[in-house]
């Protein structure tokens, strides 16, 4: 009985957390270039005796406005299955291009607009990512580090108590293979590092009872 309870809660929690962390562009597109992407995966959960990533998915489109600025949007497929419409609008700005061992640096402003069809409850969460990336082959494969910051401006919870978490960080590391117009690769994230998960309802697969680890996979195709 206890196991059933936990499994259900895991589904709930992971679906919600998966809303928060899909893979996003780290390197600005070329001017005029358009890219479509599919992101899969999510935080790791204990599901029965297994540890699995949350089956989260989203579709995204990006377009390079100039050499530094890429804008885009993404739509969560998983959320839509729950009658929740979750749109992301992204602005990726390249600060520094990579040179040999010096990483490229980019900043992503990712605005999450979420509303449900049931009660029309709306939430808005801004996310700011700092990306460091290296081009590691002639075909411009990318190795990257990602520092993601979720912000929650709500001051209170439903019970009237103070909303404790206004900032939820995540650290990610990924590799993007780029054989021609296609690119694909995995990303590992450590969500909410340092946050004690031992007293939370869900038994996250974290590190030393803190945070939650997540595994993601992204496939993108350049449409330029």
């Amino acid at each position: 009985m206890q196991k059933k309870v936990i499994d259900i809660l895991l589904v709930l929690v992971l679906v919600s957390l998966s809303r928060c962390s899909a893979t996003r562009d780290v390197k600005p597109l070329e001017k005029g270039e358009t890219s479509a992407s599919l992101s899969l995966g999510g935080p790791l959960i204990h599901f029965g005796s297994l540890v699995i990533p949350v089956p989260f998915s989203s579709l995204g489109v990006s377009r390079g406005l100039n050499e530094r600025l890429t804008i885009g949007g993404a739509f969560s497929i998983t959320d839509a299955l729950f009658g929740v419409y979750h749109l992301e609008t992204t602005s990726l700005y390249g600060i520094l291009k990579p040179r040999r061992f010096v990483p490229g640096i980019s900043v992503l402003l990712d605005l999450h607009w979420i509303v449900d069809q049931w009660e029309g409850n709306f939430r808005f969460y801004p996310v700011v990512d700092l990306n460091l990336y290296w081009e590691v082959s002639k075909r411009q494969d990318l190795f990257y580090l990602n520092f993601s910051n979720w912000f929650d401006f709500a001051s209170t919870r439903s019970d009237g108590s103070r909303q404790t978490y206004h900032w939820v960080p995540a650290i990610g590391v990924g590799y993007l293979f780029t054989p021609g117009k296609w690119s694909f690769g995995p990303e590992i994230k450590y969500l909410a590092p340092g946050v004690d998960n031992s007293k939370m309802i869900v038994a996250y697969a974290g590190i030393a009872h803190t945070g939650a680890l997540g595994i993601y996979f992204k496939v993108a195709r350049s449409l330029k």
């Binding site: 009985m1 206890q2 059933k4 309870v5 936990i6 259900i8 809660l9 589904v11 709930l12 929690v13 679906v15 919600s16 957390l17 809303r19 928060c20 959320d79 299955l81 729950f82 009658g83 929740v84 979420i114 449900d116 049931w118 009660e119 409850n121 939430r123 969460y125 979720w150 929650d152 709500a154 919870r157 439903s158 019970d159 009237g160 108590s161 909303q163 404790t164 978490y165 939820v168 909410a192 946050v195 007293k199 939370m200 309802i201 869900v202 038994a203």
Partner: protein, 279 residues
């Protein structure tokens, strides 16, 4: 896709086995808590679903029905949690019937719609209607309400709080909440770090927090500090918002969701229940 149905863990039964049930049970109690078979009555009650359609539900009453009308007969109406059916909670009912002495308490336990042999599908309003049906049966047996304690465990705290706050049939004299949840929304927010609305996952409200302020009866609250299903903090906000003249908290250090009577010790647990009746 909604997660409402996952909140309920009802299982259908063709027959109640009670003492002969060999499946998993919430607790295990010894023979000293056995009930005289003559004091066990399987009942069928008429409830209704959220559309108003009559539904047959099942209940079990432990005790001498002829004594229900006696003001001295203490009666606990046990609103079980999301567990599958009456058989699963039968040992708990037997335990409570022995509070204050051998077979001293009357205990009425219902299977909500969709649980066990009860007709219908589980639902929020259905659970409240089912508890009202149980109160109606007690009223027909002569109970006045003052000698009735509603005992809500976990998910069962929802109908217990609702009927204590807004009684339609009988106003129960006391309320006990064991490991209650605060609301579906808080449940969601406890499951995430963000202020996500409950409506992103469920249509259920299960709003104990909204109703507990209307409960004027005494409240006994039991909760384990290590509850990983309904966190301690959820029960605490419910307890804090109760405005009745008397309330008592029994906080079980390192207690989980299902082991409070065990950690307290059955004798101590029953003493707590019995002593509370004098408040």
């Amino acid at each position: 896709m909604r997660l409402d149905s996952l909140v309920f863990s009802a299982e259908k039964l063709d027959k109640y086995l009670l003492n002969d049930y060999t499946g998993e049970t919430e607790l295990t109690v010894g023979a000293s808590y056995d009930i005289n078979p003559a004091l066990v009555s399987l009942l069928t009650l008429t409830s209704k679903n959220s559309d108003g359609t009559p539904m047959k539900i099942y209940a079990v009453y432990i005790g001498d029905k002829a004594l229900i009308s006696q003001p001295t007969q203490k009666i606990i109406v046990f609103c079980h949690g999301r567990g599958p059916h009456l058989d699963y909670y039968w040992p708990r009912a037997k335990l409570m019937a022995n509070a204050g002495g051998k077979n001293k308490y009357g205990v009425l336990m219902i299977d909500y719609q969709g649980w066990g042999m009860s007709e219908g599908k589980p639902g929020e309003q259905e659970m409240v209607n089912d508890l009202e049906a149980a109160m109606g049966w007690l009223k027909t047996q002569g109970a006045t309400g003052a000698n009735i304690t509603l005992y809500g465990y976990s998910l069962g705290s929802y109908p217990a709080v609702q009927v204590a706050a807004y009684p339609k049939t009988l106003k129960p004299g006391k309320l006990v909440l064991e490991a209650p949840l605060a609301s579906a929304e808080i449940f969601v927010q406890d499951s995430t770090l963000l202020s996500l609305p409950g409506s992103y996952f469920v249509n259920l409200k299960l709003d104990n927090l909204g109703a507990i302020g209307s409960v004027t009866q005494p409240l006994l609250w039991l909760h384990g500090t290590a509850d990983s299903t309904n966190p301690f903090s959820q029960g605490k906000v419910v307890y804090d918002k109760h405005n009745g003249a008397f309330k008592q908290a029994v906080i079980v250090s390192n207690g989980e969701h299902t082991d409070l009577p065990i950690l307290l010790g059955y004798t101590n647990y029953l003493n707590i229940l019995d002593t509370y009746q004098a408040k």
